[in-house]
Assembly symmetry: C2
Homo-oligomer: 236 residues x 2
DNA sequence: CGCAAACTTGATGTTGCTCAAGCTAGGTGG
DNA sequence: CCACCTAGCTTGAGCAACATCAAGTTTGCG
């Protein structure tokens, strides 16, 4: 169960990765596990590009990935960050709808799409597990749509902080932020400057502390949550 | 194949609805088709509410539905409009993540979640079909995220017009707009006034014509597409 | 230690929002 | 059949939030 360990705090989500299922199947068939070996990407390196043929499925084992779409003039929108346990390319699409890049050094497992599709048909539980993961993604995307369409800058930043805080140790109020301000801005539909100013404001109001960029301390989680939920934007 | 007919222009998407699969299964088992009968909702009526227990799956047969999320102070974000052939509640979630309301008079088919889950396990092609639909939704959601985060008002409105135009007759340049300006605004992350002003601007520039609200004519599809894609925002 | 990339802060600008009228159209009742 | 009434739409004026432009400052790496 070495792969399972890579997925730290994925809530109640069935962390049934491709690797897990492959291993399971092979084991029950008396074969040696055929899970691919790890491979690595350095920060900034591209995994695949929007429009490319989608022939692989990736599984993040360590590090952080960003998925984004570009407009012709260079405007960028990050749709999602991928942490260990997450997967990309599940969609039975022929072409990637976004670009995937390493934010930090990343360890990955790559699976051929064909093997994946076979697994869907052969392993009864697998299709269900993939469906659940895709649905969870969809749900997160809808939350992101609400954020982008209707929340103000402070609410966006607060939501973001809680999101990555929850993804790390549950109650650890010290959050690691491996992504740059530019990444955060492009995720929240803001500019770098607005993100920076908003963080400064949250610091002044003593909702958070900023020991260093790349590290954020949540001081008043309650107020931050109320802000993120869109309750207490008064004063912002 | 009466259900199929309800789905007019769904591109290449496998329009494998629950009804279709139920009918197939029953037929092959020599039973009478057990697809539920149609039922109706008047404009403005609610199908289900965010937070409610998700025990049903709905299939739009006729009319238009809106799905939305609310913030505590009433800000609304419409995440999606559902047209004939579309389905809601596919996600294996216990609770609806949004509210569903009728925009126009709507004809629906409702299926018990339990029957649906059985179908996933029993009918081999069904899980795959559902997965594809969910993935398509996810892809659309990501497009919406790009729109909300990085497009200006004119680009948003242009994208919206093309989206609903493509959903109707492919090359019919007269588009029916059953939703109000308020719906459009809440879908695009704008206000009613901005939507109205932007439409007027597009009319003045002769990209569209507005015979009446509720009816829009696309005059210059090429320019509209370039605007929607984020190429020619110059002048807007 | 020096350099480049990332971050912060300030001054100014612009897009889209808010508030406030009018306008239009469709439905209802006289 | 027409007049009214209301919901929805359009238009205008002023404003606020966030973007842009422009320095400075910090940080981390070679």
């Amino acid at each position: 169960m070495h792969v399972q360990a890579a997925s730290p705090a994925m809530a109640g989500a069935a962390s049934a990765t491709v690797a897990n299922f492959l291993e399971l199947r092979d084991r029950s068939a008396g074969r040696l596990p055929s899970v691919g070996s790890l491979y690595f990407k350095a920060p900034g390196e591209t995994l695949f590009t929007e429009g490319e043929e989608a022939d692989s499925i990736y599984e993040v084992v360590r590090g952080l990935l960003r998925l984004y779409k570009l407009l012709p003039d260079g405007r960028r929108q990050i749709t999602r960050f991928l942490a260990p346990g997450d997967m990309v390319g599940l969609a039975p699409a022929e072409i990637y709808a976004f670009t995937a890049e390493a934010v930090t050094k990343v360890a990955l497992r790559r699976h051929k799409r064909a093997a994946f599709e076979r697994l869907i048909d052969e392993e009864p539980g697998f299709a269900r597990s993939v469906l659940r993961q895709t649905s969870d993604e969809l749900c997160a995307a809808q939350e992101q749509i609400l954020l982008l369409g209707r929340k103000c800058a402070a609410e966006k930043v607060a939501s973001f902080l809680l999101l990555i805080a929850d993804r790390q140790g549950s109650e650890a109020e010290e959050v690691e932020v491996p992504m740059t301000r530019s990444d955060i801005a492009d995720y929240l539909g803001l500019t770098i400057e607005t993100v920076s100013r908003t963080l400064t404001k949250l610091k002044q109001d003593e909702l958070i502390a900023l020991p260093s960029p790349g590290r954020i301390l949540i001081l008043d989680r309650e107020q931050l949550e109320s802000l993120a939920a869109g309750e207490g934007a008064a004063g912002f």
